[in-house]
Every structure is written in structure tokens, then in C-alpha cells.
């Protein structure tokens, strides 16, 4: 590809797609626009699991009103959703489903782990629950609480907005190694589990 005066070296675009863009005046402004649009219109998937789902819905309701950020469009189809709010405890049986739904979502996608059960298993440290959803999907923001009140969830969402505004628009999330990077080997209940900290395989 020829070298264009404004875009800079574009030879890597053919190889890497948009991710190959150098950052310059033009692309920089487009980036700002895209980031702005992503923070203003982040459609969550309806992924309610347990107690937290009620608080998630309460956040969307009249008193707290997620629609201010254009987020009242809860999409039932994962294809159209940008944000997965894992609201509640994830059981071993649900884990594959959760991963499947995450895979069905289109890039760019973000995950908020809402509540302690989703973040770390919470008080249910037992055979049935996945001890932290970050073992399955990369998590961007962890919202603490059991369940987190609507204010906490809103705070988490605003944190995510900030993250999106400061991040890059083109890189795929998985390659960036998001999530806390804690892996726990799945247990059968009989033996002690092995905990791996660090890079996901």
C-alpha cells in the first residue's frame, strides 16, 4: 500500500485490519468519536442469574434509570449487546452457557462482574459454584456487594465508561489478557483444587 500523507504508514493495515492504523490526527479523532459513541450507547445483554439480577433491573427502573446513559436497551440477543453484566452466582452447570453467550457477543464487548458471587464465589465457597467468573470470561469491572446496590452498579458502569474512553478501539479484548488472570482448575469435590495465577492458556 502506498504511504499516504495523512494516514501515515498504512502497510500494516492490509495485514492487521484497523488495528494496523498508526495513531495520528485523523484516526485519533475517529477514535474519540467511536469511544464517545461506545460510552453513550452501551447496550447490556439481559443476563440475569440470581439476586443481583433484581438489582440490575432496579438500576434500569425509574429510580436509578440507566437510560440516562442510553443503556435502557437491554438486548435479549447477545449478537446486539455490548456489555454482559454477570449478575449473580455462576454455577458449574451455567458456566458453559455463560461462556457460549459471551462468545456469541460481537466485539467490542465488555463484562461487568456484578456482586461477590460472580467475582469470587462469595460466601458460597463450595462444589457447585464457579469461584469467580473471571475464570471463564475476561472481566473488565468488578462490582462489590451482595448484592451491589444500584448505585454500586452505576459506579461500575461509569468506571467501565472511563476505561473505554481511555482505551483503544480496535484491539481485540482477549489478546489484551483482560481479567484478573486467576485460574482455578475445575474440581470434582473430592480433591483439593489447583490455583493458577498469571496468564491464561
Amino acid at each position: 500500500m502506498p504511504k499516504l500523507p495523512i494516514l501515515g504508514d498504512t502497510s500494516s493495515i492490509s495485514e492487521n485490519g484497523l488495528a494496523g492504523f498508526d495513531h495520528n490526527f485523523l484516526t485519533g479523532k475517529i477514535e474519540d468519536l467511536v469511544k464517545w459513541s461506545r460510552t453513550r450507547s452501551m447496550w447490556p445483554a439481559t443476563f440475569g442469574l440470581a439476586c443481583c439480577a433484581l438489582e440490575m433491573m432496579a438500576t434500569g427502573a425509574a429510580h436509578y434509570d440507566l437510560s440516562r446513559w442510553g443503556m435502557e436497551v437491554f438486548r435479549a440477543s447477545p449478537r446486539q449487546a455490548d456489555l454482559m453484566i454477570v449478575a449473580g452466582r455462576v454455577s458449574q452447570k451455567m458456566a458453559p452457557v455463560l461462556r457460549q453467550v459471551y462468545d456469541q457477543m460481537m466485539e467490542p464487548k465488555w463484562v461487568i462482574s456484578m456482586g461477590v458471587c460472580a467475582s469470587s464465589g462469595g460466601m458460597f465457597n463450595n462444589y457447585a459454584l464457579v469461584q469467580g467468573v473471571d475464570q471463564i470470561v475476561p472481566v473488565d469491572v468488578y462490582a462489590p456487594g451482595c448484592p451491589p446496590g444500584p448505585e454500586t452498579l452505576m459506579h461500575a458502569i461509569l468506571q467501565l465508561h472511563e476505561k473505554v474512553e481511555n482505551g483503544e478501539i480496535t484491539r481485540r479484548r482477549q489478546e489484551m489478557g483482560a481479567g484478573a488472570g486467576i485460574m482455578v482448575e475445575q474440581r470434582d469435590g473430592q480433591t483439593a483444587s489447583k490455583v493458577i495465577i498469571g496468564k491464561r492458556e
Binding site: N125, A128, V184, G189, Q190
Partner: protein, 171 residues
């Protein structure tokens, strides 16, 4: 069927039962201790007496607690299936505790009398590994199908993982 007939029927069937089946009273509720063999018969009688609803079927694993209060005639086994019946007409509950041995954890199903016990029995099967003979769909209900072991048994570990207090990666 009028009221009087029902009450008469109850008394007739009740009397022989009290002799045969060891019964106790626990915190204001009647508890019967039938054996596996006469369970269905007892329940059939109870049902005719007006215990029309099977409220609950659950089990207890007495692996670590063999000394529990049971009538002398009842031989304690590892498992105990607890069946709660409710009579709307008498506004009364009755509980049945059936001893189920470890080496042969089977029990006849209540499905034919109380179809509502279907899910409850499946749950007991899933979590305790007690097989209900004659149940139409004796599969796991709560755990994934390929799960090994029966979680609520006492020899099944809780599956705790130690709490991590470590540095986050990359920092």
C-alpha cells in the same frame, strides 16, 4: 363423600397402623418410621386418610451421626429418606422417616400416588444417590449430567478453595 365417613375411615385405618409402624412425636408433629418394604402400604393408607399432598421428599446422610433418637425397633442405617405429607382436611402434617442402607440405596417411588414427588425424588437422587425404583425419569436434576459423586453425602467434600491473598498478575 361426607365428613363423617371420612373420619370413620381414618380411625379404622389408623389403629392397626399405630401398632405396626413405630411412631414418635417430634416437636408437635407425628413421625412414622416405616420400613422400605411397607412404605408404599403405609403411604397408601395415609393417603386414604386424607393426607392428599406430598409436601416434601428429602434425605439425610447419617454417616457422622449414627446415634440419633429412633424407636428401638428401627434399625438405623446410613441414609434416611424423609417424606412430609400434609392433610388439608385435618390441617395436620405427618412425617415418614425411612431407613435406607448404604449398600443398597433404593426405595420405591411415590410417583404413582403423588406425581408431585417427581422432582423431589430426582433431587434426592441427584444429591444423595438414592435410587427410586419405578420413577419415570431418574436422572440428575440440579447438577450437570456428567457430574460424579453425590454432593450432599457427608463423605463428599465441600469443595472449598482457599482464599487467595496474592499479588495481582502484572503489577
Amino acid at each position: 363423600m361426607s365428613d363423617e365417613e371420612t373420619t370413620e375411615g381414618v380411625e379404622e385405618i389408623d389403629d392397626p397402623n399405630d401398632e405396626e409402624i413405630p411412631s414418635t412425636v417430634s416437636h408437635g408433629q407425628n413421625v412414622l418410621h416405616p420400613t422400605r418394604e411397607n412404605l408404599l402400604e403405609v403411604i397408601e393408607n395415609l393417603r386414604n386418610e386424607g393426607f392428599a399432598v406430598c409436601i416434601d421428599v428429602t434425605a439425610v446422610d447419617y454417616l457422622e451421626n449414627p446415634k440419633r433418637d429412633l424407636p428401638i425397633t428401627v434399625k438405623p442405617e446410613r441414609f434416611e429418606v424423609v417424606i412430609n405429607l400434609l392433610s388439608h382436611t385435618k390441617r395436620e402434617r405427618i412425617r415418614l422417616r425411612v431407613q435406607v442402607p448404604e449398600d443398597e440405596p433404593t426405595l420405591p417411588t411415590l410417583f404413582d400416588m403423588y406425581p408431585g414427588s417427581e422432582a423431589l425424588e430426582r433431587e434426592v437422587h441427584d444429591l444423595f444417590g438414592i435410587h427410586f425404583e419405578g420413577h419415570p425419569d431418574m436422572t440428575r436434576i440440579l447438577m450437570p449430567e456428567d457430574w460424579e459423586g453425590y454432593p450432599l453425602r457427608k463423605d463428599y467434600a465441600v469443595g472449598e478453595i482457599p482464599v487467595q491473598f496474592k499479588e495481582a498478575p502484572g503489577s
